[in-house]
Symmetry: C2
Subunit: 317 residues, 2 copies
């Protein structure tokens, strides 16, 4: 078996690609545009062509490669099947691993992009050394990736780790993107923080730096660090929701660690001060001391994890 | 490797034991008392002695055995370590697999009893044919056992599947056995149904057969079947809580099926009519069609699952 692997992370705008050695070092990384025309039919051929060009450039043959890992924005089952297609790319359901293997004859493993990113953090990021962990990506939504015994938990329909849609509040009147009301994502995401901030600011006229300028999750946590009382209250509400939701996750899978990434995580470890009180209150006693760490690979987590699927072995495919 | 396995299920009053063949047939089953004196120090020797007597009776040597599986009432990690001891037996933490192997030199696998029971239902019960499922035991409490890709999900500290302690109601005033308030178990268990019934009956004077005789989960579901309106309302509240809690579980692990057992499950499939509306409301769309089935092995699930750990292979040990 070859000792190099490619990691590919297919996004809606660009495809990230990386060449890794068996020690998990990235030797090269680059991007190509994601061409979504004609139901995204050129995306995989473009990836294959780019990888073949890189192999030629580096003098690598198929025998030098342990394989290719690829993360895509859709539910992928343990066999590498894109179960429900990928709306953002225009892709209908198909077997990704087989399709890419038709261009380059090396082992191919496919995974959901959030799951691949989780695997990357386990292999070389904030969860390094863990056997089981949950990544929580606090971005536009709240994403999750679950690793159990060193393997991605995909779920029967590739929908495991959809922790952003755990129901958390019976009183919510606004509708979540999933059609339900009161999902964790409505409070724990970057947009959720802004929603909570608007609600809090509307409650009274207490002075706050947040009443000036544009509201954002960053503005809220910057204000927290500057000692703004209203921002502190908003962060406490955010943490109460997130802590409660993650306690439910811990009671189900009991991970060693939560690894927190996404835009909101740029606030840093101060986040944990807000999340932990509710987490400890609602987690089953043996789960209360679950670790919290920040994600460290940023936007590269996906290519790391995809390559890790090949070099470490982390899926059924 | 031998083709027989023993399955052992250590309970607080009796130890159940069974001899299984590789096709999952139970060839023999029996019980011995659980002797809890002196911190339960004679329990494992008693089990070993009983198994050795059975081997002698059947003319089986160690070479005829694929191994022994054993389920115990405490958190067991993937290596067979009883992480936090077993309060009901007086057991401190120790490595169960090694301890039993010291008496009978065949492979031993140990698991939490609820997880073993889940594995039994997967192998020969309500989840037969599944690769991933969650058992939900509605008894005095609400227990859970999670199987992912044919393996028990134990969790970092053996506490995975503690779904009875998912927080489900912010308004609860009574305290759960775990010290928290508003746990799923306070509504979804047999005792939970009785609590909900008492609350409903106290709300007004609407006539109901439940106002006579002793309140129990069985009485409530018998009254539902007899067309009692108040019982119907109680069952709806029970189902709303349970459906909401199981939706959270589905969003985390996305199983093929929930297999419902325990005393409350004797009400039969009518339970699903009450659980499914809230489940579908709160589950992430790809999880909404998760199957529901009744457990079929009853009190034998534990010995089936313990033997299955050996004959199918379902833990790390």
């Amino acid at each position: 078996m070859g000792k190099y692997a490619f990691g590919v992370d297919v996004g809606g705008t660009t495809v990230k690609l990386g060449l890794f050695d068996e020690d998990g070092r990235v030797l090269d990384k680059w991007e190509i545009p994601t061409v979504k025309e004609n139901d995204g039919e050129s995306i995989l051929p473009d990836v294959a062509e780019s990888l073949q060009a890189k192999m030629k450039e580096r003098g690598l043959g198929e025998a030098d490669l342990a394989g290719i890992g690829i993360g895509v924005p859709g539910a992928v089952d343990g066999s590498g099947m894109l179960v429900g297609g990928a709306v953002n790319l225009g892709w209908k359901p198909f077997h990704i691993s087989k399709a890419l293997n038709a261009y380059i004859n090396v082992p191919v493993k496919a995974a959901n992009d959030a799951n691949a990113a989780a695997f990357g953090e386990l292999w070389q990021g904030g969860g390094k050394g863990c056997r089981s962990m949950v990544t929580v990506t606090l971005g536009t939504g709240v994403g999750g990736g679950i690793i159990v015994d060193g393997r991605i938990l995909t779920g029967a329909k590739g929908a495991a780790g959809e922790i952003g849609h755990i129901h958390i509040d019976d009183e919510e009147t606004e509708v979540c993107s999933c059609g339900s009301r009161g999902c964790l994502e409505q409070y724990g995401s970057a947009t959720g923080v802004v929603r909570l901030a608007k609600r809090r600011l509307a409650e009274d006229q207490k002075p706050s730096v947040l009443r000036e300028g544009e509201l954002s999750a960053k503005a809220v946590f910057d204000a927290v660090k500057a000692g703004d009382d209203v921002a502190q209250e908003i962060a406490e509400r955010f943490g109460a929701y997130l802590g409660k939701g993650l306690a439910a996750v811990a009671n189900v899978v009991n991970p060693e660690k939560f690894v927190i990434g996404g835009g909101v995580s740029k606030a840093g470890e101060v986040l944990f001060d807000f999340i932990k009180p509710a987490f400890r209150k609602y987690a089953f006693p043996p789960c209360r001391e679950t670790g919290f760490a920040l994600a460290t690979l940023g936007n590269d987590a996906g290519i790391y994890g995809a390559a890790g699927l090949i070099l470490l072995g982390g899926s059924d495919d």
